[in-house]
Amino acid sequence: MRRPAILPALLLLVPGAFAAEPTKPAKPPALESSCVTCHKDLDGELQQPAVMAAEDIHFLKGLGCNDCHGGNPQAGADGDLDAAHDPKKGWSGRPHRKDIPVFCAKCHADAAFMKRFDPKARVDQLQEYRTSVHGKKNAAGDERVAVCVDCHGVHGIRAVKDPRAKVYPANVADTCARCHNDAALMGHYFIEIGQVDAYKKSVHARALYDKGDMSAPTCNDCHGSHGAVPPGVESIAGVCGTCHTREATLFRDTEAKKGIDLSACIQCVMCHSNHAVLPPTDDMLGVGDKSTCTACHAAGEPGYQAAKEMGEDVVRLTGTLREATELLDRAEQAGMAVGPDRFALKKAGDQLVESKVLAHGFDLGRFKEASTEGIKAAEAGLTAGHRAFAELRFRRKGLALSLIVIAAVIAGLAFKVRQIERGGGR
């Protein structure tokens, strides 16, 4: 049996498959083939594969055009196209768009073959793809939906960890936007556009683009890569919970404790939105104008009262913590050693975060335990700050008094010296 001839587009589907790629390997022998030699002399899109091959991960790994397209890479240099494009040598030409997933999977679904390049290589991309909206529509014959090459490129395919790759985390949103921001294309599926624009304002995008945190979520982290689907209502908490594990666990704990299906009435997106997940603010809790709680809980309901108490505690804890921090900062600038107090104050900050997390359990009792402890720690920090300033005042007064005593001693000594020397001490 002939070795599957299709490797190319597929290796790229393995995240990090070739992450440790040497910077400048020797020129791959496949670039010397007759395919590259002839296609380089052509124009337009027939020239492109030969030009782009030089940086293609498959070529860099020693694979050639014929490994995907078949044919004879040794023949044809003399102009004999039939010899190069010989069907007997497996020449299949350009695959039909709808067949591309299977075309790539000939290698990328072959575990034994892929292990030659990466022992941990995934080989379930096609299987995943078939579960996605893209894959289902592709199977139904829809040629407009995304196939491998739409996200990874056709030729000039790069490893996922290559910052120039279309599927590098920082580039994923723009890659998705190429279709999902296309109003005409999306119109066929009755899908709104603008998700990527909303995402780019989110706290996740700020972490990814501004802080360079490559672990921050982008499109595929919530929707899946090859098995991309819009998360259903029932799975949103699960999707967010893959990163925000504590919040998700609290959510599920409350469901189990109260024996209710919380998901039926509340989901992460109701308070935090979906693509435009903005940084959470303290006033999202409570019953103020910007409260997200009052969207469901009306005055007089127990939930309203719980939201009110949670909001008040968070405001008090945040305010006291800020005041204590500022006071300790000023004491430190004045020369006081407040390291241990500052360390103790960290507990207030930790409890503030803990309280905000516990808010996702909708359990006022548990929330209060954390917030009360935090408020106590913040107040202790405030007391420490005031104590530091009291000590500073004591030191200054002590200094003034000491200087007066020292000055008096100096005056006394000077007087004595004068007295002795006037008396003929010389």
């Binding site: 407040v338 241990p340 030191r395 200054r396 020292i406 000055a407 000594l413 004595k416 020397e421 001490g425």
Partner: protein, 367 residues
């Protein structure tokens, strides 16, 4: 029970210790009086600050713990929990710096007044050695709080010692107690700081004071010549009580300055050293090492195929040796010789060089 009368106690002590001999010596000790007499107070000031270091150092010892795991915390405890611990530690640190400064002033005043002249050569040698010891006190004491700056400054400082040809690696291992700066280095520096250096300094100080006592205060050659020309004897004042009372005034001023510095600018502790953290920007040694630090920094990597750092170390070592041998190298006839004045000009140049290099470290970007 019949208590002995005070007079009898004095007699009892006198019979055994003969303290009256010392009293007699003090009564006869006289200090020259002339326009440069103010520099005579520098020696006493140095001695006073040394005593202050000993006293505050002993108090710090009551709480300090010399291990990588506890040093920082123990100093933090001294600064925040021990009553007046902040005052003691701040005075110890400020006073150490003031001591080095006054020592330099004392040394240069001796140099310019040519007080190293025969027969005071050994007094000069012991003084230069005491300066070196004081700098070693500073270097070893700097690490003891085990904070980030001290940790990396010690790393850099000991690396310089390691670059000395032949014995460098041995010295580096001797100072660090291994290849790297670790808790072992801290324990070792503590040993140097509270035992080896104080014992050596006390012996040298004893010798220095004995020689000062033996030879008396040196009068600058110019003043001696003036007196001779005018046919009069140089003026003097009794050490007890006139000079000592004036000394006391200076010491009170020093106490006042130290109290103000401790209360207004308590010595910082910084953050605990983390040997695995990257070195922070702007690492520099204590100010009195800065001129050497900057000299080494300015030298190119290689000069005529020889490592720049090596040339720097050799140059600084040679300068130290020349400075030590000053009593033998001064070619001038005491008093008026032009060559002697030229020799003094080298002292001015040395001060200028050290001052410019030090300021450079502090004003340079990231310095």
């Amino acid at each position: 029970m019949n208590w002995p009368k005070p007079g009898r106690i004095r007699d009892w002590i006198e019979e055994r210790l003969e303290l009256s001999a010392l009293e007699e010596m003090g009564r006869h000790k006289r200090v020259p009086v002339h326009r440069h007499s103010i520099w005579y107070y520098m020696g006493g000031m140095t001695l006073f600050l040394f005593g202050l270091q000993v006293a505050t150092g002993i108090l710090l010892l009551l709480y300090y713990r010399p291990s990588a795991g506890e040093a920082f915390e123990s100093v933090q405890f001294i600064m925040t929990q021990v009553p007046f611990g902040w005052l003691i530690r701040s005075i110890h640190s400020w006073s150490a710096n003031l001591l080095v400064f006054v020592l330099f002033v004392h040394m240069f005043s001796v140099f310019f007044m040519k007080a190293y002249r025969r027969p005071r050569e050994i007094t000069w040698f012991s003084g230069v050695a005491l300066l070196a010891l004081t700098m070693a006190f500073g270097f070893s004491g700097y690490l003891l709080p085990w904070n980030t700056l001290a940790f990396f400054a010690t790393q850099v400082g000991t690396e310089v010692a390691g670059a000395v040809p032949v014995v460098g690696h041995f010295m580096l291992k001797l100072l660090r107690g291994g290849e790297h700066v670790t808790g072992g280095t801290l324990t070792r520096f503590y040993g140097f700081h509270v035992a080896v250096l104080p014992a050596t300094a006390t012996l040298l100080l004893g010798l220095h004071l004995l020689l000062v006592q033996k030879h008396g205060m040196s009068v600058p050659p110019a003043i001696e010549s003036e007196a001779k020309r005018e046919g009069r004897e140089a003026r003097t004042m009794p050490f007890l009580p006139n000079f000592l009372l004036r000394d006391l005034i200076g010491w009170c001023v020093a106490i006042g300055i130290l109290a103000a510095l401790a209360a207004i600018l308590p010595w910082e502790l910084g953050t605990k050293a983390d040997p695995f953290a990257p070195a922070p920007a702007g690492i520099r040694p204590e100010w009195y090492f800065c001129w050497m630090f900057q000299t080494l920094k300015l030298l190119p990597g290689h000069v005529l195929g020889i490592e720049g750092e090596l040339i720097g170390i050799f140059g600084i070592g040679l300068a130290g040796l020349v400075w030590l041998l000053v009593p033998f190298l001064d070619p001038g006839t005491p008093g008026t010789g032009g060559r002697s004045r030229l020799f003094s000009a080298f002292g001015v140049l040395a001060i200028l060089y050290m001052a410019i290099m030090t300021v450079w470290v502090y004003v340079a970007p990231g310095g």
